[in-house]
Amino acid sequence: GESVGLHLPTLSVQEGDNSIINCAYSNSASDYFIWYKQESGKGPQFIIDIRSNMDKRQGQRVTVLLNKTVKHLSLQIAATQPGDSAVYFCAENRDMRFGAGTRLTVKP
């Protein structure tokens, strides 16, 4: 079975709003997690990562939160822009498997 999964298949937000994308994982031995963004016709692109010894990591407009107790990751995108429209995947380093992804649509 899949080791990672997404709670919501689609998410629609208004431009300028904040977006939150969730992901659950099952392998408690995973120690490194990655969020990818995939635009239409392109391969997945690295956004941000986090190691299991951290609870939170911030990048430019993106923040990843890790809750090891419930094996849950979230990706927060601040001030969402039309260019953020894509499918977002989380992956963990034990077996590099992906879930189905969440499609984010940003309405102008």
Partner: protein
């Protein structure tokens, strides 16, 4: 630095034909992955190489799919014979792989259509 290169970009074949995809990873990356992405789904890992050795091929349909990375650099993925359900984008990715799996860099993929 140059990214992961894949070719061809598109391929259309008839069922029961054979097809091969090529991937050249980022220079120095020891780990190479092949993924199959069916429309509307997440990438499915087919095979993972560490240098020229196979780390994980548990999801590779070995009756028709094969992959090699003979010199530990570029890699080919072959399907023989193809089925309609093999229509998908085949993604190659590479990473340093040290000390454990780290972020993978993806190519643009090869879109295969089997008719």
């Amino acid at each position: 630095e140059a990214g992961v290169a894949q070719s061809p970009r598109y391929k259309i074949i008839e069922k029961r034909q054979s097809v091969a995809f090529w991937c050249n990873p980022i220079s120095g990356h020891a780990t190479l992955y092949w993924y199959q992405q069916i429309l509307g789904q997440g990438p499915k890992l087919l095979i993972q190489f560490q240098n020229n050795g196979v780390v994980d091929d548990s999801q590779l349909p070995k009756d028709r799919f094969s992959a090699e990375r003979l010199k530990g650099v570029d890699s080919t993925l072959k399907i023989q014979p193809a089925k309609l359900e093999d229509s998908a984008v085949y993604l190659c990715a590479s990473s340093t792989g040290l000390p454990r799996n780290t972020e993978a860099f993806f190519g643009q993929g090869t879109r295969l259509t089997v008719v």
